[in-house]
């Protein structure tokens, strides 16, 4: 699910960027905030950081050692977090013997085990896929609707993994011509 969140961060501005003109300072703060935001990539609680939408408030700066200035900044941003129990749609990008990997938003590692796609059998070959007796196919680039059974935060890569399932009503390959 995409979320709109309000965050309060401290931004550090180097002394050479402290110009007397107010606009230049504001510009330096925004540039620094956007680069910090992109670097952070994701956190366990808020999910992936997509974009800063609006700057709400720049608080009073505090001068630190070496002349750096620390400024508290309040801003709105969009994040994406995957929740257990949520129903989502994703695109298959890798087919393995034991299951498939999907992309969903910024997440690349959404894993659907063959144990969680009832009635589907692995069909080996150059374009390996899973198929059921109604000839419904789960292969590369197929869109699936799934439910999330578990999520895991990988601190080292600042990345999430998710385990998903097709067990449930109205889950499985989606054939919507309009999307």
């Amino acid at each position: 699910m995409f979320l709109k969140v309000q965050l309060s961060w401290n931004v550090i501005i180097a002394p050479e960027n402290l110009q007397p003109q107010g606009l230049m300072l504001q510009r330096a703060i925004i540039i620094r905030l956007l680069s910090d935001f992109a670097m952070k990539k994701a956190t366990k609680d808020l999910g992936y950081f997509l974009a800063v939408t609006t700057l709400e408030k720049i608080g009073e700066g505090k001068v630190r050692q070496h002349g750096d200035v620390l400024l508290p900044v309040v801003f709105n941003a969009i994040t994406f977090k995957i929740f257990k129990g949520e129903i989502l749609e994703g695109v298959v990008h890798k087919v393995l013997k034991h299951g498939v990997f999907m992309r969903c938003g910024p997440i690349e590692n959404v894993y659907l085990s063959h144990l969680k796609m009832p009635d589907y059998e692995y069909v080996p070959g150059e374009n390996a896929c899973f198929m059921n007796d109604k000839l419904s196919k789960i292969g590369k680039d197929v869109i699936l609707r799934f439910s999330v059974i578990g999520t895991k935060w990988m601190e080292a890569d600042r990345d999430f993994q998710a385990l998903v399932s097709l067990e449930g009503d109205y889950l499985g390959p989606v054939s919507t011509p309009d999307i």
């Binding site: 995409f2 709109k4 974009a51 994406f80 938003g105 910024p106 009503d169 109205y170 999307i179």
Partner: protein, 127 residues
């Protein structure tokens, strides 16, 4: 159901709303940079691709109307966005996607859900 308390204040966004915001951001970058894709993070790029593909509504007026219609049905933020993203066609499908619309005792009867789905499909038709 899905949220820890810290999220009670967070607002959810539908794919189509995120698509409008990210595309606008990207257009702004195009005006100031020769190579806008190089200016955005991978998270931004992957998300933009995703929401472009998974937005049921493209036109900004339609996107606004979808939220307005869904907001009439006392849905939680999360429920509203799941319905707006997945666009279920039948009452049964809507309840399978968001079981809480029936179980939270908000007198959300089948007739009301049916009307909501009809209104949504009308917006799609006239988009």
């Amino acid at each position: 159901m899905f949220f820890s308390s810290e999220f009670l204040k967070a607002k959810c966004l539908m794919n189509c709303e995120v698509s409008l915001i990210l595309e606008h951001k990207y257009e702004q970058l195009q005006q100031t940079s020769d190579d806008p894709m190089n200016q955005v993070s991978q998270v931004f790029e992957k998300s933009l691709q995703y929401v472009k593909r998974f937005s049921r509504y493209k036109n900004p007026d339609a996107v606004r109307q979808v939220r307005e219609i869904l907001a009439r049905y006392q849905l939680a933020e999360f429920e509203l966005c799941v319905l707006g993203n997945l666009c279920p066609e039948t009452v049964e499908e809507a309840i399978a996607m968001v079981p809480s619309i029936k179980t939270r005792g908000r007198a959300q009867d089948d007739e009301a859900i049916e009307k909501m789905l009809n209104d949504l499909s009308l917006i799609k038709k006239f988009e």
